[in-house]
Amino acid sequence: MKIAVLSGKGGTGKTLVSVNLAAVADKAVYIDCDVEEPNGYLFFKPTSIDTKKVTVQMPYAKAELCNGCRKCVNFCKFNALAYIANQLIVFDKVCHSCGGCALLCPKKAIFEKEKEIAEIQKGVSGNVTVITGILKVGELSGVPVIKMLLDVQDADNELTLIDCPPGSACIVMESIQDADYCILVAEPTLFGAHNLKMVHELATLFHKPHGVVLNKCLDGQNPSEELCRQEDIKILGEIPYDEVLGLLNSKALIAVRENDKYNKLFDSLLQTVIKEAQHETVVNS
């Protein structure tokens, strides 16, 4: 079972929820898809790390073969190529590595070379297999990295928690594509409710069964909770705002491994999520 954890922006407790749910399970896989700023591994401190490089193919032209016909320049719909002063220039950061230009060039002047864009680390932390994607600084598209991350662990019957990148851009869509269930983490503010709305729309668009975890709950108004009631979105649980949790978090400790109260809280949250997810699967099949 694959469970994706998402939120409209960073810092809402997405990592807190996914890390603790993975840690409280008997056995789980945790995948950090927030490749620009992965931080789950800081909590898990995994050992026996196995590293794999993620590369993409970058085109380059051999000047002595190129006749300047510019077919490639006009073809590239990402505008990653320019032909200036009798020379083809490739803009690596704009190129999507589709390979089209190399196929198309009538002079067979375009070749491809490998370029490393990210690293995938797989390690172990107690009961949890921790998989982390780390995008190289300056690399802008994490989408191919997400694809590989989700392929590292192909055991479908294992409980897998996917810590998604914040927001609702295409990298998030890639992250939730194979998920059986989505957990939306929301803060109790107006801005939080706005962000929740965005990810709720995304989950709905992808026909993913989903529910909300209300984080940082205090007494009083919670616009995110109101939104759930209005839109009839399932509330899976609430995480109260308290100092103990904040302190554990700031020390990069995993709450369920340190504190009984949180162990119970996340354990019951996990049971709720699994029940919901199974229920949805039954209903849909």
Binding site: V73, F78, N79, A80, L81, A82, I84, I89, F91, V94
Partner: protein, 122 residues
């Protein structure tokens, strides 16, 4: 000398467009014949790399000077390889900017921004 300016409108009295790659039009002005020509910017609607595409067009027109408020690093690379100088525009119309350039009152653009390259959501 050929001069290019990104424009919001096909009009010499219109202001310079704040974006280079995504400007709706380009003005090409010939300082010898004083002729002007407006071109629709085909790159304006592209997914990414609008600056690269627009810079290619500017270079292909044999432009020697581009007047723009800002320029991304990819476009700058194309333009510098094509030996196009980039001048920082001043507030006002295209006409005023052309006069300022010819009177040598414009400065070369020094700040090149790293660009967004579709980072906002594509």
């Amino acid at each position: 000398m050929r001069i290019a300016i990104p424009m919001n409108d096909k009009n010499l009295d219109a202001e310079v467009c704040p974006s280079f790659g995504r400007a709706p039009y380009f003005l090409f002005y010939n300082s010898v014949t004083k002729e002007s020509e407006f071109l629709d910017n085909a790159a304006a609607a592209s997914q990414g790399g609008a600056g690269v595409r627009a810079a290619q067009v500017i270079a292909d027109y044999g432009v020697k000077a581009l007047i723009a408020p800002r320029c991304g690093e990819n476009a700058e690379k194309v333009l510098s390889n094509a030996e196009v100088l980039i001048y920082q525009s001043i507030p006002g119309s295209a006409q005023e900017n052309i006069e300022a350039l010819l009177a040598e009152r414009l400065h070369l653009l020094t700040e090149i921004h790293p660009g967004f390259h579709g980072k906002q959501g594509v």
